[in-house]
């Protein structure tokens, strides 16, 4: 009897420990993301900003992994359940790639074949003027 309670207590301790460990990971990842966000404000080069954004996206996926695997307990479920949840989510790989590529391609095509549109989007507006009239559509 005392043996089983000791076992249960050890299990309880390890679970609580894991919860606080994951909390620390999530907090650290968030702080790194915020630090990168602040640092990015001072960067002027587009490619540098793009790289920092990529790093932030990777950190975001790491955070998502920790939440799903440990807080939602998916890591400790049976393999069948893990696969039935994770495999359909791989659709997102195609989904994100295809749509972002499509958006970018649309921008490039329009800039190439619609010079008027491109000229319009490069006109600078002064701050006071823009608060007077709000444009309602693209």
């Amino acid at each position: 009897m005392s043996n089983t309670t000791a076992l249960a207590e050890a299990h309880d301790n390890s679970t609580t420990k894991e919860i606080w460990k994951i909390t620390a990971y999530l907090s650290i990842l968030t702080i790194i993301e915020l630090a990168l966000g602040f640092w990015m404000m001072g960067l002027n080069s587009d490619s540098a900003r793009f790289t920092v954004k990529g790093v932030i996206v990777i950190l975001m996926i790491a955070k998502a992994f920790y939440i799903v695997a440990y807080f939602m307990h998916l890591k400790h479920e049976v393999r069948n359940l893990i696969m039935t949840i994770i495999v359909p989510l791989f659709l997102f790989v195609w989904f994100i790639t295809a749509f972002l590529y499509e958006g970018n391609s649309y921008k490039n095509l329009r800039n190439t074949y619609d010079p008027y549109k491109k000229a319009q989007s490069s006109i600078k507006v002064s701050n006071s003027e823009s608060s007077e009239h709000k444009v309602h559509s693209e």
């Binding site: 915020l34 602040f38 972002l100």
Partner: protein, 227 residues
């Protein structure tokens, strides 16, 4: 060898008589619901990304989300308020895990305390969001109206505010329903419903939903405020 492999637990799961996923029906259905909800949010965020990639200019989030409650009007404090909101949601997710954990131990008072903390966290997050929305509204931002210029100083379209209010609104509505679900769980715990059933599995399902809300915020926060 074949005989040995059929005695493995993973093989036994498919011999019938019980769930091959080794979870209760309700929990499995909660997972499938969350997966479909993930596709809904995914579609929103990808549509936002597509429009952003197809635009020549986009407002700078550090200019738009620069204010803080009770601070003077002209303050420039980007990312500060939203990081507080993010930490509130992470901490409320932690108290939810602790509530589920106390439920495993059949510790009613532990479940009640942690559920109350989770509900407070959820309400705090909603209050922050309500302040942010009303502040942006007072600046002239709403569906169909965008007072902010693009980062390069050119005139912006209303895509930015439309997506911002739709997606954070949809997420905020999830937080609201999560808070309501947690309040129902709290009342059921206080009425000893789970003690009578002999298990706190219902708290686990509410917990899954609550963590999902936190998970979505991780993506919304990154897509709108950081990058």
């Amino acid at each position: 060898m074949a005989v040995i492999s059929t005695t493995l637990p993973s093989e036994k799961l498919w011999t019938g008589g019980k769930s091959p996923f080794n979870v209760e029906y309700g929990k499995l259905m909660m997972w499938y619901f969350l997966m479909s909800d993930a596709f809904t949010f995914g579609a929103f965020l990808i549509s936002y990304g597509t429009i952003r990639f197809s635009s020549n200019g986009w407002p700078d989030p550090n200019e738009v989300f620069r204010s803080f409650p009770l601070a003077p009007e002209g303050i420039h404090a980007p990312l500060v308020f939203v990081s507080i909101m993010t930490f509130i949601l992470i901490i409320s997710s932690v108290t939810m895990v602790l509530a589920v954990h106390e439920g495993h131990k059949m510790n009613k008072s532990g479940v009640v305390n942690n559920l109350i903390l989770t509900i407070i966290g959820g309400i705090a997050f909603l209050s922050c969001q309500a302040w942010e929305w009303s502040h942006l509204y007072s600046e002239g931002a709403w569906w169909g109206s965008n007072p902010f210029l693009n980062a390069d100083g050119s005139q912006s379209s209303t895509n930015f505010t439309n997506y911002f209010f739709t997606i954070t609104g949809f997420h905020g509505f999830h937080v609201l329903s999560g808070v309501v679900i947690n309040i129902v769980m709290l009342i059921m715990t206080l009425l000893d419903k789970f003690e009578q059933r002999g298990h706190y599995l219902m708290i686990e399902k509410a917990g899954l939903y609550w963590h999902f809300v936190d998970l979505v915020w991780v993506f919304v926060f990154t897509c709108f405020y950081l990058i």
